[in-house]
Assembly symmetry: C2
Homo-oligomer: 323 residues x 2
């Protein structure tokens, strides 16, 4: 089986084959602008790797990978509008450059084109894959709605389990489904399909908690990201929610007071409180927990171990494994 | 064959069978709110009538009619955001009641559910119908983009033919496609499919020009709508574009000056100029022209005339036939 970067290379040539009309110029220009900025393509490549885990990559896997990538871009374009984001992949977001109306339509077109890709695959699995894809698509919209609702709620009314449900819907279901539909095209049996789904979903959860963890406890020389941007936004991360769960009444007051401080002082104080509450240790354990579930799910797939090495490699490159 | 209102009745019971989850409450509550307001259901009923024109209504026709109706509602929800509309079917628009973010997501969910309906139909025509549906969906988004671009352009740089293309994409393609996919489920042959498509599309065009015409020349006691709302908004209607095409330089200056007047005076003066330029007569002829194409397309369908009566009846109820 080929590595992530090898499959990434062969996928690159395929993405360019998704052809959009030229007119109206604003609409399709905005889509080209967005798709041309280089993403990591983790989801479509995972889909192709998951196919190759079981059988040689089938032409249909490229259609499905395209559908996954188009869908992912649809959700980014619409999410960026909702989150008022200004930058995406280092460039101005689509709605900032082309206006919100065109961004709504560009997202819609990307979603329609995702389904156009699914309409090309073999009828033997088209219905099943389209069904799984649609269910996944609904969960991701629901996850985004939960996130919107989340931001409006008082921190103390939220639980870490609510967060877990939200990020599972918002991001991990897509990784799980991308892996599963790749496996379906590789003619995996239902048990294998479920295992590879669990692998993808749990990597997604571990990755998301790790993302929150690194924002507070990451090494800038490794991550390349400034520490504390979530803290500056008072973002409802796994760490903050868990901290409130673990805190006694006095510590809760300290946390609330820290969240009102300015700049570096806020970052420094909140991280200090996280350490007192051992939220860093808790997060490391949680990341490890989901990483282990992911690897166990991969282990459970009844094919020779050497065939699974490249997927394990991918998981290790995404997750700073702690064991 | 049954009449519009008979098929409308049987369709009503089917729409209620589209089931959405309950959570997140905001998201699905907003969708229920929107779908519960009674629309005219012209598109899905046209789809069912078009099936019944050729064969008894098949269960799949309800899925396809649902897809058409869900899609139509998706486009209304997103268009209302873009157009900053405050009322839809006499009630506050979805984005006004639930916020723009939820409205974007609600539209997305409606679009996904449209495809979920298509995924249920028989494989013998699923690929063809999904393809036609997706092409139609793209055209409608393109039409909305054209409309956005339209509003930003100087009136003199626009032609009536641009308008015609825009409204064909934005509204008529959906009527044509709804009719065509109903016919496909009724196992109509390709020629019959094309004819019924043309019937739907041309009714749509005639209806749209009629809408513009009635805004200026309609009888409030019949239409129930106040005359001149398009004129008060300086909306780029078929009438205004044609007026600029027909006007000489002096008349163009008069039109521009009239568009700066206030309230009743603007309405009165613009309508006067329309009459001088015989735009009312031109519009009547244009409506007649597209109505005739629609009826000719219906005539061309090689089945007994009596079977087509109910569709002709529907067209007549939508269009104030002038011949």
């Amino acid at each position: 089986m080929r590595s992530f970067s090898e499959i990434f290379e062969s996928y690159q040539t395929q993405t360019d084959s998704i052809i959009f009309p030229v007119q109206p110029e604003n609409l399709y220009g905005s889509i080209t602008y967005f798709l041309r900025s280089p993403g990591k393509k983790i989801r479509p490549v995972l889909c192709l790797m998951s196919n190759e885990l079981f059988k040689e990559v089938h032409a249909d896997a490229y259609h499905v990978a395209n559908a996954v990538e188009l869908f992912h871009n649809f959700s980014l374009v619409h999410d960026d509008i909702m989150d008022h984001s200004v930058l995406r992949r280092g460039r101005p977001t689509l709605h900032l450059k082309y206006g919100e109306n065109t961004a709504i339509l560009a997202g819609d077109i990307l979603l329609i084109h995702a389904y156009m890709q699914l309409n090309k695959i073999n009828i033997s699995y088209r219905e099943q894959i389209t069904h799984l894809f649609s269910e996944m698509a609904c969960r991701i919209c629901e996850g985004q709605q939960m996130d919107i609702d989340f931001e409006k709620r008082e921190i103390e009314t939220l639980k870490y389990t609510d967060y877990l449900r939200m990020i599972t819907f918002k991001t991990s279901v897509l990784l799980g489904t991308a892996a599963q539909i790749g496996a379906i095209i590789g003619l995996a049996n239902p048990q294998q399909q479920n295992n590879i789904y669990d692998f993808g979903e749990n990597i997604g959860i571990a990755f998301q908690i790790q993302d929150d963890f690194l924002d507070a406890f990451g090494d800038v020389s490794i991550t390349g990201k400034q520490v504390g941007s979530d803290i500056l936004e008072n973002k409802k991360t796994a760490l903050l929610l868990k901290a409130f769960e673990l805190a006694d009444p006095l510590q809760k007051m300290e946390l609330k007071a820290a969240m009102l401080l300015i700049g570096e002082e806020r970052i420094h104080t909140v991280i200090g409180l996280y350490k007192n509450l051992k939220v860093d240790e808790w997060a490391s354990t949680a990341i490890l927990h989901y990483t282990e579930i992911a690897f166990k799910s991969l282990d459970l797939i009844d094919i020779p171990v050497y065939k699974k090495e490249k997927l394990a490699e991918l998981a290790n490159s995404l997750l700073v494994r702690q064991s």
